[in-house]
């Protein structure tokens, strides 16, 4: 037990299992009171149950803090408002917001239904917006707040999850923007990009898929071992907990790769190769001129997915 967050109050979404639960318990261990928010649905967002959130509440209370459950969907603006208000009304204020709730509907782009797009974007991206939108006025007023969002390495491109990746890319940009807007009020916004064994990343279906990749030669056995050798979320929970503490006052607008074995700071994308024309002497670009400067612009670039050779 420790008391780095003693007297602080936190809202954690997706708190019923996996990373959200591990973070809730970690915050509670440091003395924070917890609003454990979880719809209690499946990985695909279907169904609902109060027991995951209730279970987290009991475990938090066993650590000597106050805890209360909230069962709404983060994708619902009003339900998100209720989560934040629960914290303020029961505990007096909201100091910490950790957005972890997420679902997955994996499909290739050309097979993705509109519904699969909408629900994944709603839970991750709009859910993150919803809770921040409702927490921001309180945090700004009290000139203190810690927001920790959750993204994924799918943020930088992935196959089979373009809805999930796009939502995570949106959350990364939302984190940057929130950091810029709220920073001067003593509120920080950061994101973690976790690697952990959860029902989403290491459930039986996922493992079966990985094995198929090895069997078909897409992956080496080493790649399989690397991907599946992942600690549980309790190993990394101290990273968002640190970001939620007073000690992290000057850490703002950052994205941290977070795993049991390591954590890393992800620098944002930047202009890595630049071609400037003669400022005083130019007309509109021509296609030929653009083509001529491409080799320099593309130095070091590797095509992530070149066209397949024609099958004979």
């Amino acid at each position: 037990m420790a008391n780095r967050l003693k007297g602080r109050n936190a809202v954690v979404t997706g708190a019923g299992s996996g990373i959200g639960k591990a973070v809730s318990l970690s915050l509670a261990k440091e003395g924070a009171n917890i609003v454990a928010c979880d719809l209690g649905g499946g990985i695909d967002g279907k169904g609902a149950s109060t027991s995951p959130a209730d279970q987290t509440v009991s475990e938090c209370k066993a650590l000597g803090v106050q805890a209360v459950a909230s069962y709404g969907s983060v994708a619902d603006f009003k339900a998100a408002e209720a989560m934040i208000k629960t914290c303020v009304e029961k505990f007096g204020r909201i100091d910490i917001l950790v957005n972890v709730a997420g679902i997955d509907r994996a499909k290739m782009l050309w097979n993705l239904s509109e519904e699969d797009w909408d629900i994944v974007i709603s839970v991750h991206l709009k859910g993150t917006f919803n809770t921040i939108r409702h927490a921001a006025p309180f945090m700004r007023e009290q000139k203190y707040g810690r927001i920790v969002n959750t993204i994924s390495e799918a943020w930088v491109g992935t196959v089979g999850h373009c809805n999930y990746g796009a939502a995570k890319g949106g959350i990364a940009s939302l984190t940057y923007a929130a950091a810029w807007e709220l920073g001067k009020y003593g509120v920080t916004a950061n994101a973690i990009c976790p690697r952990a064994a959860t029902r989403m990343t290491m459930g039986p279906d996922v493992l079966a898929g990985y094995k198929k990749r090895v069997e078909s030669g897409l992956w080496t056995k080493e790649r399989y071992d690397e991907v599946t050798h992942v600690a549980g979320p309790d190993y990394l929970a101290a990273i968002p907990t640190y970001l939620a503490s007073e000690a992290a006052a000057n850490v703002n607008g950052c994205i941290f790769g977070s795993a049991g074995a390591f954590f890393s700071y992800w620098a944002p994308a930047k202009e890595s190769a630049i071609y400037n024309r003669d400022w005083d002497n130019y007309g509109p670009w021509s296609v030929d001129e653009v083509e001529k400067c491409m080799p320099n612009l593309l130095k070091g670039y590797v095509n992530p997915a070149p066209p397949e050779k024609e099958k004979k």
Binding site: I121, H161, A166
Partner: protein
């Protein structure tokens, strides 16, 4: 004019005005047939008018290509489907897709309404998804396609545009992911990050502010000069998109390019630049993390974009 896109068929969203219009005409100048999609609304997404799309259709036709208008709402899946189908049904196939339609509803996060969020994310991000989703099956089948999305520097942070920035970040990832999924089928997916004078960006107050800062010595005069060179009609860089849409750009895939009248830059992807290892057998603990969070370790090179404001001095009553 050129013939780099002769016989190709393109769908361009937001094609009634600004960057979309410039690119639609830029593609037509290179010989592409164009489906000009524009709802004809205001910058904030309100209203609708067929005139902007109709006018661009006329201008495209002047270059000897076929052109037709679509007036649907890109944020509606069925409307996007209809626009892609219009291209296939009227011109035979769809080779090029340029997603440019966008709106802006600027607010600080604590003032933003749910509707302002939904509409901006709906038009930019879902609009881009809708068109990619509907075009992808045709492009995969024919093993050729060029998709060009539009992002913004707001993708990397900023104030008063959290909805816009988040949508643009989502579009960048959709570009990276789309490139990985569609690349093997001979389809490229890239994005432009444009700077140009359009009705969305043309704000004399911004220039005034820069002039003042240059006068006070807070900003280098080259910033103002660059701004003046870049805040010009987007037709200046329309051919950057035309290049990306051409056969010659077959191997340019999954890239984001800053595009202006005077500059092209390629963006790197975000990447881990500093790492701390957990040397223990157990989970991370707070002390281990705190020890790594120093300016010479994990935060090397990091600058806080908005540090806490110093407390205001107390006013004596």
């Amino acid at each position: 004019m050129g013939d780099k896109l002769k016989g190709r068929n393109a769908v361009v969203t937001g094609a009634g005005r600004g960057i979309g219009r410039a690119i639609a005409i830029g593609l037509a100048e290179e010989g592409a047939n164009v489906v000009v999609c524009d709802i004809g609304g205001a910058v904030d997404g309100s209203g609708g008018d067929k005139t902007p799309a109709d006018q661009v259709v006329d201008e495209c036709k002047k270059h000897g290509v076929k052109a037709m208008a679509q007036y649907g709402d890109v944020s509606k899946f069925a409307d996007a489907e209809a626009s892609v189908k219009a291209c296939v049904d009227n011109f035979g196939r769809i080779d090029i897709l340029c997603n440019i339609a966008g709106i802006d509803k600027p607010k600080m996060i604590w003032n933003m309404t749910e509707q302002e969020w939904d509409q901006v994310v709906g038009v930019h991000m879902k609009g881009t998804f809708n068109f990619m989703r509907c075009a992808a099956p045709f492009m995969r089948e024919q093993k050729f396609g060029r998709i060009i999305n539009t992002t913004s520097e707001a993708w990397l942070g900023g104030v008063t545009h959290l909805n816009y920035g988040a949508a643009k970040g989502g579009i960048v990832t959709l570009t990276w992911g789309g490139a990985q999924e569609l690349g093997p089928a001979g389809i490229t997916v890239n994005a432009i990050c444009p700077r140009a004078k359009t009705r969305m960006t043309d704000d004399p107050k911004v220039r005034e502010m820069v002039v003042k800062r240059v006068e006070k010595g807070l900003m280098d005069a080259s910033v103002l000069k660059r701004m003046d060179k870049e805040m010009v009609d987007p037709s200046a860089f329309a051919k950057i998109a035309a290049f990306l849409a051409s056969d010659d750009a077959a191997l340019v895939n999954g890239q984001v390019f800053l595009t202006t009248a005077i500059t092209i830059a390629r963006y790197s992807k975000p990447e881990p630049v500093t790492t701390a290892e957990n040397a223990s057998e157990g989970p991370w603990n707070m002390d281990m993390i705190k020890a790594a969070f120093t300016p010479d370790k994990i935060l090397k090179g990091y600058v806080n974009p908005a540090p806490p404001a110093p407390p205001k001095p107390e006013v004596k009553k």
